[in-house]
């Protein structure tokens, strides 16, 4: 007789073993290791929630402290490898296999461990791919998640940084898995129920609140004239040109500069209401002046940002908020929105090659992908038109039956030709290729493939790759905006001139922009303090960004 309920039976046994260390669903922080050793089995697939802004850090410490003789060979399936404990478990043998998306701060250690064979890598995914696989072949047996508060029934309030939690819980709880949540406090009644209690099996009151890093805060005081010039070109040469209303911004200084130029420079160009109205975006503090000036209609968020909570509560016309008033974010939905509902992704990168492939990999760091490739790619499954999308599509394809033409998402790389320490952004060969060879990755970690990129904006000008008709043109268009890098100096000057005449390359003067006007006085806010003023005192920046 086939047992069609073996998973359920196994789950019940795990829960029963865990209950020995709990009072109802509640487990004391000191009992974390006992609980995990009771619930986990060798070889389990485990998601240890590691988001951008919310880490199950108490559970991570607990897992790392488990006895490798009892718990070993786990298969970790989680979006972020962020905390040292996320990798410690591979050193002790508690974990063996890994499928993940993003490893920012642990990028160089993960590269070493891949190279040394301590980690058996499945794949590095984008967020949406990993989430998708949770529901196909990487469903967790146990999910270790984090929230702000829970009641004794397990009803969970994630706080404004909901991020991955609903996705992880959905996949685990409804497929016979066990969900263990750490919370900052156990309360009688949660402010709102983000995850219903019947999906949470155990709740742990953490020894200390989970740490949140202000990842999306860019200090206007650090913005340079070059970044402002690039932002001006992007606004005039792309936002205005294509009438981009629905968009996603990267998290660099270049896009932050654009956010700060909307109420000043873009306002003077008469673009208010015509561009940048609907966003898939974390709540960037630098967007506050644009919101306050009435530019922004709506923002859906992947997660939140430190210090923005009060501001968001008071701007519920703009942000998605719960009945309790606080932000409700959701990474899976926002990534989907970025992929399908946005007409433009614009962001920075570290390296671009002659075909337009880009990578944020530097030598010896495997940073992973996160969600940039989801947003920074042309979704071939898209079927709804918009003016922006259609205009870009027509630029790319000039022959054939118009009824069969489709649009293109704008994927814009916003880069300075040189990075820190005079490292060139434009290169003949991406460092990612070398790294892939060294660490045995089957795919080179390319963040955005050249065929998805539509524009590259540098301080020298805009290269419109949609208008390039062959690989040669494409290469010269890229060289033509690569400034004084070796790639830039290696251009065919005559061909670049012809591309300029065709509008493939546009210089600041072609756009009617005088580079000497790129001045910090154009920024709607020149400091974090200015952002606080714009917010009417609602934005509460973290201490490290203050100078008052």
């Amino acid at each position: 007789m086939t047992d069609w309920r073996s998973e359920k039976t196994a789950r019940d046994a795990r829960i029963a073993a865990g209950r020995a260390h709990a009072q109802g669903k509640v487990v004391r922080a000191e009992a974390v290791v006992d609980l995990l050793e009771a619930v986990l089995k060798p070889g389990d697939r485990v998601c240890l929630e590691g988001d951008n802004q919310k880490q199950a850090d108490c559970l991570a410490r607990g897992l790392a402290a488990c006895d490798p003789a009892k718990i070993h060979d786990l298969h970790m399936v989680q979006s972020g490898i962020v905390l040292p404990e996320h990798l410690d478990v591979f050193e002790t043998g508690i974990a063996k296999q890994l499928d993940y998306s993003y490893s920012g701060p642990q990028g160089s250690r993960i590269a070493k461990m891949l190279y040394g064979g301590q980690i058996e890598l499945g794949a590095v995914h984008t967020y949406l791919e990993l989430f998708a696989r949770y529901f196909v072949d990487l469903t967790p047996n146990v999910a270790l998640i984090a929230g702000v508060s829970a009641d004794r029934e397990g009803n969970l309030y994630t706080g404004p940084n909901t991020e991955d939690t609903p996705t992880v819980v959905e996949a685990t709880a409804f497929k016979n898995g066990v969900v263990i949540a750490q919370v900052n406090e156990i309360v009688d009644k949660v402010p709102r129920v983000d995850i219903p209690g019947d999906r949470i099996d155990f709740v742990i009151e953490a020894d200390k609140p989970f740490y949140v890093e202000p990842l999306f805060t860019r200090d206007p005081a650090a913005m340079t004239e070059t970044q402002i010039l690039i932002a001006m070109m992007a606004i005039k040469g792309i936002y205005a040109e294509y009438g981009v209303r629905r968009l996603n911004h990267g998290i660099g200084f270049g896009t932050a500069a654009i956010e700060l130029l909307l109420p000043t420079y873009a306002e003077k160009l008469g673009l208010k209401g015509k561009i940048a109205t609907h966003w898939a975006l974390n709540p960037h503090p630098t967007l506050i002046p644009a919101i306050e000036s009435g530019w922004v209609k709506q923002v859906h968020c992947f997660g939140s940002e430190v210090g923005m909570d009060r501001y968001i509560r008071e701007r519920s016309d703009v942000f998605f908020t719960g009945a309790d008033g606080s932000l409700r974010s959701n990474r899976a939905f926002c990534q989907t929105a970025g992929l399908y509902a946005c007409d433009m992704f614009i962001g920075a990168t570290l390296q671009i090659d002659l075909a337009g492939h880009s990578s944020t990999v530097t030598q010896n760091r495997v940073a992973g992908f996160g969600g940039a490739p989801n947003m920074g790619s042309d979704p071939h499954g898209r079927r709804h038109p918009s003016e922006t999308w259609m205009k870009a599509g027509h630029e790319a394809e000039v022959v054939g039956d118009p009824a069969l033409m489709r649009g293109r998402k704008l994927v814009v790389q916003l880069v300075e030709t040189f990075g820190d320490k005079l490292v060139p952004t434009f290169v003949e060969k991406l460092d990612a290729l070398e790294l892939a060879k060294k660490t045995g990755l089957e795919l080179a970690p390319v963040m955005i493939y050249g065929d998805d990129v539509t524009h590259i904006v540098t301080e020298e000008g805009i290269a419109n790759l949609l208008l390039c008709r062959n690989a040669d043109e494409r290469e010269q268009a890229i060289r033509g905006v690569a400034g004084y890098t070796e790639v830039g100096r290696g251009r065919d000057r005559a061909m670049v001139q012809r591309l300029r005449e065709r509008g493939v390359i546009r210089r600041p003067e072609d756009l009617g922009i005088e580079p000497l006007d790129a001045d910090r006085s154009l920024l709607a806010a020149k400091s974090i303090k200015d952002l606080v003023h714009w917010s009417g005192g609602l934005y509460e920046p973290p201490a490290r960004f203050r100078n008052w």
Binding site: A221, T264, Y265, K268, L269, E514, D517, D519, R520, S521, L522, K526, S527, K529, V532, G537, A543, R544, F545, R546, N547, W548
Partner: protein
């Protein structure tokens, strides 16, 4: 399209040493001494493979302020942290010594310094001592020496001591006055003593508002060149003497401060004892609200400097 801004409304914090001088004094009246074309550059920095500046990070010269002759020195906080090197210091010393002979209406020092330039430490330290002696001489000769503090580098180390020697000080919210910097304290005494990354703590402890409330500075201005100009003009007319009576008054003032606030761990406790109703609200206060608060604090204003 050019967004034209009034030079007076320019941020003091953001402006360069030259921009500050240009906007501070009467338009077009500034004449520089030993300007960049004379290339008086550090003979020492090349030994350390460090770039030099044509003015060694300080602009000195004469100008008119509200129609009256003044001498001006302006430090560039972005070059080597505005620190005192041999030439940098000597330019300030020469300017102050000249003041005693030429009797301007005031000497203005636009501080923006981390203290002594380590690559020229002995020269910098000695120049600071020479500067303080020259300031005492100038003040005794009846020439007000006014310090203006609101730059990126703050006013640290020996710069803090020179500031304490001036007749009057104007400070903005961004301005910091201190001897040991937060990083120095943290390095020597640990993060428990001073967490230098806690910027709010840094400003509460040594920032413009704290200094103004406790009488460590005599005027508080908005972060604009125009506001500093107005403060400078006002302070020149209210410079205390440099004599025994003043120093005795300063002795009493500082002793009273240490006695009254010596057990306070945080600036907010001091502000509360000074009679500020909501001390926690001080850092976020607007300039106007803060001016009102200061007006009610008797200790903030005095002639004992």
């Amino acid at each position: 399209m050019r967004i034209v801004t009034d030079p007076g409304s320019q941020s003091w914090y953001e402006a360069s040493a030259r921009q500050r001088v240009a906007g501070l004094v009467d338009e077009g009246s500034f004449a520089e001494f030993l300007g960049p074309a004379e290339r008086a550059m550090s003979p020492h920095l090349p030994l350390f493979d460090l770039p030099r500046a044509f003015d060694d990070g300080i602009v000195v010269g004469r100008a008119q302020l509200d129609g009256r002759p003044v001498l001006v020195a302006s430090q560039e906080g972005r070059f080597m942290g505005g620190a005192f090197g041999e030439i940098h210091g000597a330019k300030l010393v020469g300017l102050l010594r000249a003041a005693i002979e030429t009797k301007p209406a005031a000497v203005l020092i636009l501080f923006d310094t981390g203290g002594v330039r380590l690559q020229e430490a002995n020269a910098g330290e000695t120049a600071i001592a020479e500067t303080m002696r020259a300031i005492a001489d100038a003040r005794a000769a009846g020439i007000p020496v006014i310090g203006l503090i609101g730059g990126r580098a703050g006013c640290y180390g020996g710069g803090g001591l020179i500031a304490g020697t001036c007749s009057r000080l104007a400070v903005s919210e961004s301005g910091r006055i201190s001897v040991s910097g937060p990083e120095v304290i943290e390095t020597n005494k640990g993060a428990e003593e001073f967490d230098s990354r806690d910027r709010a703590l840094v400003w509460r402890t040594m920032g413009g508002k704290h200094r103004r409330l406790t009488g460590g500075a005599d005027a508080y201005c908005a972060d604009t060149v125009a506001a500093f100009r107005e403060a400078a003009i006002r302070l020149i007319g209210a410079a205390p003497a440099f004599d025994l009576a003043m120093l005795e008054a300063e002795q009493s003032r500082l002793e009273a401060r240490v006695k009254r606030f010596g057990d306070c761990r945080d600036a907010t406790e001091i502000w509360a004892r000074l009679g500020v109703n909501d001390p926690d609200a001080v850092p976020a206060m607007t300039d106007a609200a803060f001016a009102e608060t200061v007006a009610n604090v008797t200790e903030a204003s005095h002639d004992a400097r």
